[in-house]
C-alpha cells in the first residue's frame, strides 16, 4: 500500500509543470501581436478551451519531431510555450483569456527563425487544426491574424 502511494506520488511529481524563469517584462494583451476576433463564432469554431488545448498540443508535438524546425526547440522552454500559445490563441479567438507572454519580437529574439520555419509551423498547425476538425475557412481566418506576425518573428 505504502509502495503504491509512493509510486503514485512519484508519478504525480513527474508531471508537475516547471517553467524556466524569464527576464522581467511588462504584461499586456497587446503583446499577443494581433487584435481579437469579435463575437464567439471563432471561439466556437475552435471548440473552446478544450479544442484550443488540443490544437496547441498537436502543433507543439509536431514541431518537436519536425526535422525542419526541431533544432529550434532544443533547450527551449516547451511548457511555457504551450501555456503562452494557449493564452495567445484564446485571446485572439476571443475566448476570454489574457495573454501574459512576451511580445512576438522579444519572445523570438535570437532564435534565428527564417521564413521556411514559419512555413513549417503553419503546416504543423494546419495538421493539428485538421485533427480537431476546425472548418478550413475558420483555420484561414486565424492564420491570417498570425501570418502578419512574420515580420516580428523572422530575422530577430
Amino acid at each position: 500500500m505504502i509502495a503504491f502511494i509512493l509510486a503514485a506520488a512519484l508519478a504525480a511529481q513527474t508531471i508537475v509543470i516547471r517553467e524556466e524563469p524569464v527576464a522581467p517584462y511588462v504584461q499586456a494583451d497587446a503583446n499577443a501581436g494581433a487584435s481579437p476576433f469579435k463575437g464567439d463564432g471563432m471561439w466556437r469554431a475552435f471548440h473552446g478551451s478544450d479544442g484550443v488545448a488540443r490544437i496547441v498540443d498537436g502543433t507543439v508535438d509536431r514541431l518537436l519531431v519536425d526535422k525542419r524546425v526541431a533544432d529550434i526547440f532544443k533547450s527551449h522552454d516547451i511548457e511555457r510555450l504551450r501555456r503562452t500559445l494557449n493564452e495567445q490563441l484564446c485571446y485572439i479567438l476571443n475566448g476570454g483569456c489574457s495573454y501574459t507572454g512576451r511580445t512576438m519580437q522579444s519572445s523570438h529574439k535570437d532564435m534565428g527563425i527564417q521564413t521556411a520555419d514559419l512555413g513549417a509551423l503553419v503546416e504543423d498547425m494546419q495538421a493539428a487544426m485538421r485533427d480537431e476538425h476546425v472548418e478550413f475557412a475558420a483555420q484561414n481566418r486565424l492564420l491570417a491574424k498570425l501570418a502578419a506576425m512574420k515580420r516580428d518573428v523572422v530575422g530577430q
Partner: protein
C-alpha cells in the same frame, strides 16, 4: 536589342541588393502550397492564362526553387502544347522558358498550310518582385507586385507575314499584382501587359490593323477549398491586330490541385475565342507541374 541583357543584369543586381544583410542559412523549400502559383502557358508562375506576381518554385528569400511544366490545351480545331521550366531565386527573381507548339491539325489543310502544320514559339521570361508578400502580408491590402518581361520568338515567319503580321519576334512587358486574402481563402491577381502578340505570339507580333503594343489585362480569382485545392476563373484580353481573322478575349475556369509538395495538376475549361478564322475555340486544358 542591347536593352535585354541590360534589363536582365539590372534585375539580378536588384535581387542581390534586396538580399538580407544577415547571412541566413541557405535552404530549399519553405513556401506554402500553391502560393507560388502554377505554370502559365507562357512559362511564368501564375494561373493557366495569366502571369502572376508570384515567383516560381517552393523557395523562400533564403533559397532557390524551380518548376517544370507540361500543359496541353485541346480545342475543336487546334491544340496547344506548352513545355517549360522556371527558376526562382530568393523568392525575388524568376527566370522562365516555355516552348509552345500550336498544331493546326485538319484546320491547317483548310487554311492552305497543310494538315498538321504547326506553329512553334519560344518564350524567354524574367520577373522581379518589387514589393509586398503574397502570403504573409495579411494585415495590409498591399499586394505582391512584380514587373516582368517575356521575349517571344515565333518560327513561322513566312506565314506570319502572309497573314499580315509584322514581326515574328516580340517582347511583352507586364506589371502584376497578386494577393492572397487568407481570411477569405481568396487568391486574386490583376496584370497589365503591353504586347503586340497575335494569339500569344504564335501568329506573330503587330499586324495590318494595329502595329504597336497595346495594354491588355489579365485577371485571376480563385478560392482555396482546401489547402491543396484552388478553384477559380481567369480572364485575359488579347490584341486584335490582324485583318484576316478577328481575335477576342480568352477565359478559363480552373481547378489546381497540389497533389504533393512537389506535384500540381491543373485542369481548366478554356475559351480562346476565334482563332485564325475558326470560331469558338473552347476546350479542356490539362497541366502537370513539378516543383522544388
Amino acid at each position: 536589342m542591347t536593352s535585354r541583357p541590360l534589363l536582365f543584369g539590372t534585375m539580378l543586381l536588384l535581387a542581390a541588393l534586396a538580399s538580407p544583410a544577415v547571412a541566413n542559412d541557405r535552404r530549399d523549400g519553405g513556401k506554402l502550397l500553391l502560393t507560388g502559383g502554377v505554370s502559365s502557358i507562357d512559362g511564368a508562375a501564375g494561373g493557366g492564362l495569366a502571369s502572376w506576381a508570384s515567383i516560381a518554385g517552393n523557395e523562400t528569400e533564403d533559397g532557390i526553387g524551380g518548376s517544370v511544366h507540361v500543359t496541353y490545351l485541346a480545342l475543336p480545331d487546334f491544340d496547344l502544347t506548352s513545355v517549360g521550366g522556371a527558376i526562382g531565386i530568393n523568392d525575388r527573381v524568376e527566370i522562365s522558358y516555355a516552348h509552345q507548339i500550336f498544331d493546326t491539325r485538319s484546320a491547317g489543310f483548310a487554311l492552305g498550310l497543310g494538315r498538321g502544320f504547326t506553329f512553334n514559339q519560344d518564350v524567354f521570361g524574367a520577373k522581379l518582385r518589387l514589393i509586398g508578400d503574397v502570403v504573409w502580408d495579411q494585415d495590409t491590402l498591399l499586394p505582391q507586385i512584380a514587373i516582368g518581361v517575356q521575349h517571344k520568338r515565333a518560327d513561322r515567319r513566312a506565314v506570319i507575314r502572309a497573314v499580315g503580321g509584322r514581326e515574328s519576334a516580340g517582347t511583352d512587358f507586364y506589371l502584376s499584382a497578386t494577393k492572397l486574402l487568407l481570411a477569405r481563402s481568396l487568391v486574386l491577381d490583376a496584370t497589365v501587359r503591353l504586347t503586340k502578340a497575335n494569339q500569344f505570339g504564335l501568329l506573330g507580333f503587330g499586324g495590318d490593323k494595329q502595329a504597336d503594343r497595346t495594354a491588355q489585362v489579365e485577371g485571376s480569382a480563385g478560392m482555396l477549398v482546401t489547402r491543396s485545392l484552388l478553384v477559380g476563373a481567369e480572364y485575359r484580353t488579347k490584341p486584335d491586330n490582324l485583318g484576316f481573322a478577328r481575335e477576342s478575349d480568352a477565359y478559363d475556369l480552373f481547378a489546381a490541385w497540389s497533389v504533393t509538395r512537389h506535384v500540381a495538376i491543373t485542369a481548366a475549361y478554356t475559351d480562346l475565342g476565334p482563332v485564325a478564322t475558326f470560331e469558338k475555340q473552347r476546350g479542356g486544358l490539362l497541366s502537370l507541374q513539378g516543383s522544388f
